[in-house]
Symmetry: C2
Subunit: 371 residues, 2 copies
């Protein structure tokens, strides 16, 4: 269980084609993971996710802890059963939300005391709590409890935080008594400081996690800074373990990440922007509310095979959006997720056939033309 098989490595870039086996199924990498924050990928059923080829979805420890509570989900038979998803699930540790979403917080060596964003009640979460909650959820891939430091942040603060995150990672590992059923991934932090990223990795490698995440990116830094960090961080990680870039990103970000040796991605953007009437397409970005689409009876993306593009016109999608209809969120979300999942399927095929770098060049050229 939790074996990562490296099927192919590109000779012209750091792109990798892999396969990660979990109790709920195999994940072909590189992979995009749709985000189901509150035990639902917003506006989608799990049957639809399966139909469009989602191989793994993500859910949020923090959100499920504050509502409906992980004990309830344990009683329901775990998160898979609760939300009717039979494939693999990755749960984050809650660290990111505790530091970005929750109210005033106090960090100690033990963990973090913070206020629920829902009702303000005080909650304590540390490594042991994050693991216990994820045990209740029964996810296939759990994440260690970490501090996601902001960018910019003082060197000394980030260094102390990295060291604490490493100590927390050890405690998570010690609290995790079912490594055969749930894989626990470590998280590399260190902001934009190469020596602190190195320090983070050196602390984690001896713990021999079955996978490693790159945290602390996509937190407001420039795209240039992110790519610079991605130019060296994956190289620090063991080759035979999956690498997961947390919270990233746009279609271009994914291709950039794959070129630099990343295997797994997640992001709320495709579902979130869909609800705001935005679509990513092979022809560039589409903001469906624009009046230019009022009498446009062509599909959102003429090259797309999703249900939305096969059955509905831009004019209809614009009408639904303007009218505030739920179907608008559904159809736009369906398209964006299909687009991301199909994109990664193209990426995998291109790596397999030794054409990924050309494919990526074409992809970026087309993006440049349509923006």
């Amino acid at each position: 269980m939790f074996e990562f098989e490296l099927i192919k490595k590109s000779n012209k870039s750091k792109a990798r084609r892999g396969r990660f086996t979990t109790p709920h199924g195999v994940i072909e990498t590189p992979v995009f993971m749709p985000v189901g924050t509150q035990a639902t990928v917003k506006a989608m059923t799990t049957d639809e996710l399966k139909a469009i080829g989602a191989m793994i979805i993500l859910s949020n420890t923090y959100h499920l802890h504050v509502r409906p509570g992980s004990e309830l989900i344990r009683q329901a038979g775990g998160l898979h059963r609760f939300m009717n998803w039979s494939g693999p699930i990755l749960t984050d540790s809650g660290g990111f939300q505790v530091f970005s979403l929750a109210g005033q917080r106090k960090i100690t060596e033990d963990g973090v005391t913070f206020q629920s964003h829902l009702d303000g009640r005080k909650i304590f979460m540390g490594p042991e709590e994050a693991v216990a909650i994820q045990h209740n959820l029964g996810s296939d891939i759990m994440m260690v409890f970490d501090e996601c430091t902001p960018i910019p942040a003082e060197y000394d603060y980030v260094r102390d935080s990295v060291d604490r995150t490493t100590r927390w990672a050890k405690r998570c590992l010690e609290a995790h008594d079912r490594p055969d059923k749930q894989a626990l991934f470590g998280i590399v932090q260190g902001g934009l400081y190469p020596e602190l990223r190195q320090r983070s990795v050196e602390g984690l490698i001896p713990l021999d996690f079955p996978g490693y995440a790159i945290g602390g990116l996509s937190v407001g830094e420039s795209k240039h800074d992110m790519l610079e960090a991605l130019d060296y961080i994956p190289d620090l990680l063991p080759e035979n373990k999956p690498r997961y870039l947390m919270g990233v990103g746009t279609p271009a970000d994914l291709v950039d990440g794959v070129l630099r040796g990343v295997d797994m991605f997640d992001c709320v953007a495709p579902t979130r922007i869909a609800r705001h009437g935005m679509a990513w397409t092979s022809q560039g970005d589409v903001s469906i509310k624009q009046s230019r689409y009022e009498q446009d009876f062509t599909p959102l993306d003429p090259e797309c095979g999703c249900d939305t593009c096969r059955n509905y016109s831009k004019a209809y999608l614009r009408h639904l959006f303007k009218a505030g209809e739920i179907l608008s969120a559904r159809l736009m979300t369906m398209h964006n997720l299909y687009y991301m999942i199909d994109l990664m399927s193209q990426v995998r095929q291109a790596i397999e056939s030794d054409t990924f770098e050309d494919w990526a060049e074409n992809f970026f050229a087309k993006q440049a033309k349509t923006r």
Copy 2:
């Protein structure tokens, strides 16, 4: 085209089993028609509607006229193509919304000038306009432009209104130049005055509509008053034409209507209450937000075969509702529509097998027990 075949008449009640043929398919009656006000049955795709057995859906002339405009829908190839529904569509005339929803209005013999509920702009609609809009929409069944009088209303006002509605019905018929492609139904008004209902019917019968609707009920009167009206109105109508009770109603209302000789029903209730977390079930009404369902891992309705009941628990549905998730509206709507459509399927089978009155008795007994 537009032939109504009376397959079976009950000996013990006025219940009828019929079949109405339209250009987009056959409607087995008695039938419940889901409402797609703004060219979408809220929260549902048309594929889902088809899958749960919806045989005809309703859409709204008034709403589509104010947004996105019927000319746009004509350019899209008609409403069927615009919203991706290949089955029959019934459009109301806009009369009901003009009198219930729009801003200050002035009624003349020509028609009604009113303010759009969206932006306050002045709109004129009369019989010719209502027909022209419905021609643009291309619905299988069109409705005449009528005045839906409130209850209570003065006898003299209702009498004058009935006479004007009859004159408007004639003008609709004269403006309707494609009776082979779109059927135009007449609407009986007259409030709770038996002699005015009679007067309305006498005005309409000579016009020989292919179907007749009973309007002006379910507008705030008591259930007792509605049933009293339904005890005699259907008898005034020709036997060989379908009878459509507009805007009705609850599961019990439908059974009551069928017992009194009604063939077609529509109502926003199943979709609207679903979005407020309410479900109709074989075990009675369920308000999913109630704390009693917090740890209830059984389906919404153990006797139901819909996707919601096959795949999700009350505890999960409650979580989705409390979390404000779109999937809550989707799953609750799916169930309520399935319930109504399945109910009418049971009704049709019971009429065919001469057991409808017993079936109805059991239905009401069960309802009484679970409320």
